[in-house]
Symmetry: C2
Subunit: 341 residues, 2 copies
DNA sequence: CTGTTAGCGCGTTCAA
DNA sequence: TTGAACGCGCTAACAG
């Protein structure tokens, strides 16, 4: 029985050329005699030859592999990113290895080791927390890194600035305009930089328009559905409970809506809810979730391009998208009715 | 400037042993003198040496890479699978390369080529449609494949039988018991075997209990949110519209609930809805979605174990999990009230 | 138990 | 323009 995989040599033999010519043909070196090239291609086609990537990587020193490190693939925010990152990879003939799909630090360590052993040409670290040591480690090994919200980029560290404040300001002012005063914020995990920035932006935007945010209305979550459930339960039991809540991500907001339903709080009548991310499911919630959009596709493509050396620095916008989970504050509603009568 | 990556040779030199000894130490060959082994390990540790996977694969003929081909990573059904598959991979020191994350056939072709070039040791193809040619292709290259619902497994084709019928029967009988008679089914794409099997099971289970399913109540979708929206719009405009609908997956069901809201149909009062898959979000819908559970973790681990040669054949169960999206049929409700009065 | 050595499949010089 | 030969970093005989 023949070997399952052809090799360059066998192709060369069958095409009556040297291995060098086959190699050149495959790599589209322009100086190859077109006649020979065609002959080689025919043989490759006929034999169903696929070059061995490991041998290529070994000989060339380039793996053509990009790593993608993602914190929680079960958060619907990430699959979008994975999808477009992988698509771009395929288009540019890069392979993508996916790492550390969950929070487990042991698995993270394994993933990182695998990527180094695999000699990835670059790596995108998305929405982690504690990525600093990782970045140092990769850079020390000469592999370039993309990460969000880093302060001092360099030749080996690419980044993008995300303007959280714009979208969050829109959200806050939208709620204020609807008459809300007691507006709560359910934050993400404190160690996550992106979460901290969102929280800061919220506080700043509240202050801008002279609104207080008492400590009780600022609760920390962890960007999960459960966090939303828990947070709104606490918030709802407050003596002076909020009439609106802004969440650090959509998953949290969905948890809030779900638990509000359980508590017989009607969204938006009794409680206005705003999310963050605009995951695809947001518009399919009941009611459809008003949220701050941050383009997943945008982030993924910037990450990819950054790793491919296009140094063009860009920024990511965030914008409020109005749907149906917010409305007039309860008090405001009554006033209007009164005035009408 | 020193080379960024150490090599086996350099480690050997620094540890005063041969490369073979270093290699044996790394691969935990038990016959290595513990003293030497320790010395080698110290050097490896000190120098931060990571073996080059490509060289290893080339020399050993084993890539220790498993492929995972998934049709739509943005369907929340899949991230769970990816996560547990990858976790198991990490635990067994396998790398996972993720392919064809979307429906685009061009990208699928690229992904397949990459996997072959990468000489994956095995591949799991999950919920595709048109996987037969892929299976043949991989098997011809001597790589073993795992796929769901295949008829004739063999040494190179592992599979698992999924008992769709059990869960779907529970769903149908649950609805029938609640007094529903006009029960619609929103199917998945016809070319998808798993979708076809679900539809067949539904029809059989209806017939079993003497319920008709007129052609108009059997509509084909494509397992997306949009498909649910579209299908329920059609169904709702029927003169004799269904009082309950079973969906071929949860995404479809969520689309149905969303559009029902738009049409002012209250779920479950006016329309009972049952999903299929039990994605994590199902219980966070409003109302929480009653659905047929099919364990994503179960499927992923069976796939992984099957590829690791544990030939233990297993089956996957499906079971109805009752939540709040179903209730008595409208007629039945009135009868009860009448009888009470 | 250890070291020497020959490849694994490919890219890439260097001559021709 | 083409081909012969070497080396990428590692594993696996084989000999000692």
């Amino acid at each position: 029985m023949a070997a399952v995989h052809m090799t360059l040599q066998e192709i060369a033999k069958r095409a009556n050329v040297s291995t060098a010519t086959v190699s050149r043909t495959i790599n589209r070196v322009p100086t190859v005699n077109p006649v020979l090239a065609r002959r080689v291609r025919r043989v490759i086609e006929k034999e169903g030859y696929y070059p061995n990537t490991h041998a290529r990587a070994l000989a060339s020193g380039q793996s053509r592999i990009l790593g993608l490190l993602v914190s929680e693939i079960t958060n619907p925010f990430f699959p979008e990113i994975v999808e477009t990152f992988a698509k771009l990879g395929f288009q540019h003939n890069y392979e993508i290895v996916l790492g550390s799909i969950s929070q487990d630090p042991r698995l993270l360590a394994v993933a990182v080791r695998q990527m180094i052993e695999r000699r990835v040409d670059g790596i995108a670290i998305l929405t982690f927390g504690g990525e600093d040591p990782l970045i140092k480690m990769f850079n020390a090994r000469n592999v370039s890194v993309f990460a969000v919200d880093r302060d001092c980029p360099g030749p080996l560290l690419r980044t993008v600035r995300i303007d959280y404040e714009h979208g969050i300001r829109e959200a806050v002012q939208h709620l204020a305009a609807l008459g809300h005063v007691r507006i709560a914020f359910i934050a993400g995990p404190a160690h996550l930089k992106t979460a901290a920035l969102r929280k800061d932006a919220f506080e700043r935007c509240m202050e801008e328009i002279g609104l207080q945010v008492p400590p009780g209305l600022l609760v920390e979550g962890d960007h999960t559905l459960q966090a939303g459930v828990k947070a709104i339960s606490e918030l709802a039991s407050l003596p002076d409970r909020p009439t609106a809540v802004v969440c650090s991500n959509d998953l949290t907001a969905i948890g809030v809506m779900r638990q509000a339903f359980e508590l017989s709080l009607n969204v938006p009548r009794d409680l206005s809810v705003v999310g963050f991310d605009d995951i695809p499911l947001a518009q399919f919630m009941i009611p459809p979730l008003t949220t701050v959009q941050m383009s997943q596709i945008g982030i993924a493509s910037i990450a990819f391009r950054a790793l491919l050396n296009s140094t063009k620095v860009q920024a990511i916008e965030t914008n409020l998208v109005l749907r149906c989970s917010t409305t007039l504050a309860p008090g405001r509603l009554r006033t209007v009715q009164h005035w009408r009568a």
